[in-house]
Symmetry: C2
Subunit: 203 residues, 2 copies
């Protein structure tokens, strides 16, 4: 059946495009390079995706679709707050190892295209902070954690987990270690970060 072959080529292109776009960004990516990586003629890119812009949007959407569930692990999950922070921190490292350039790619392109946010927000499955806010105010009421705004806590959790990857080259230089040692530091963070956060908020 030709459908199988079509799907193969199409996903082949998408996979190649993911690699190139995530590594070099929209502006730095070259259609020819994507075609080469997918081992097809450049015209095929346009046959399947019409334009660079549309191919890029397909990649971006796919990237965000992968990232959203990670964020939802903090925002929408019924488990106990501390347990949740521990699990998210633990999981996030593994996620980034599987998709090293993805979070940075999403953040960068959002910075360069703030109007994308509008599109994303309108789609279903866009993570919402509402549940998390309730959980935090409950935990405060029950005397489990010190008073803190849910927004601030959320930003702290995300910052502590995402930035060490985005800022890797800078942090590696500042901390003055090589790639191997830096990876060890990141591995340590799997547990360290959660304890750092919990230490700060628990009563």
């Amino acid at each position: 059946m030709d459908k199988i072959k079509t799907e193969n080529t199409e996903t082949e292109i998408l996979n190649a495009a993911k690699e190139i776009f995530q590594l070099k960004g929209m502006a730095g990516a070259r259609m020819q390079e994507i075609a080469d990586k997918a081992k097809i003629n450049k015209a095929l890119l346009h046959y399947y995706y019409r334009s660079k812009q549309l191919l890029f949007e397909a990649v971006f959407k796919s990237a965000f679709t992968l990232l959203a569930p990670q964020l939802n692990k903090v925002l929408n999950d019924d488990s106990d707050l501390f347990e949740k922070i521990r699990r998210f921190t633990e999981n996030y490292v593994s996620f980034v190892i599987k998709h090293p350039y993805l979070p940075n790619f999403v953040i960068q392109e959002l910075n360069k295209n703030p109007e994308f946010v509008v599109k994303l927000r309108s789609e279903k499955n866009f993570p919402s902070i509402d549940k998390f806010k309730l959980q935090i105010s409950d935990a405060i009421k029950q005397g489990v954690i010190k008073p803190i705004e849910a927004e601030q806590l959320f930003i702290n959790i995300i910052s502590l987990n995402i930035f060490p990857f985005i800022g890797e080259p800078l942090l590696m230089a500042l901390v003055n270690v090589d790639k191997e040692s830096y990876n060890k530091i990141l591995q340590h963070r799997k547990t360290e970060v959660a304890e750092f956060i919990i230490n700060s908020i628990k009563i």
Copy 2:
């Protein structure tokens, strides 16, 4: 004296280049756009800076020269640890308001050009973590803070301060607030972040 005029044109170009490069990155920036912003002919860019690459490097160097002292406020400063954390957090927001795209620019271009790190490291005034390490181990010995690796604490401080700006469009969408409210959140962080960190490590 023509020197004055030359300096004006040269810095005019550099300022325009800073704006464009920091906003769009090396790959996304256009020499013509820089020339337009500097209100000069495109050939003048090459007269003063030879190539896009060299102009970019001048901008990058200048950006890092501005960023380094900020980092040194955490790493090399004799003041009391808690006071230092409080002051850095307070100052950093003001710094980023003055140079909104600078930290992200530096980090992005380092990600795309990891070999830049080598050049930066070899220059004097590159921030070193040594003093900070001593300060932390002293504080632990003296029972002021709980045991923590200096590297981890440093990464935490930097992450909590820098990421909220780099991830602004994403965080704004996730936290579900408009620009104005997000700015208020950032202003709150001037004090909140320091207390969050100190809470976590103090005994």
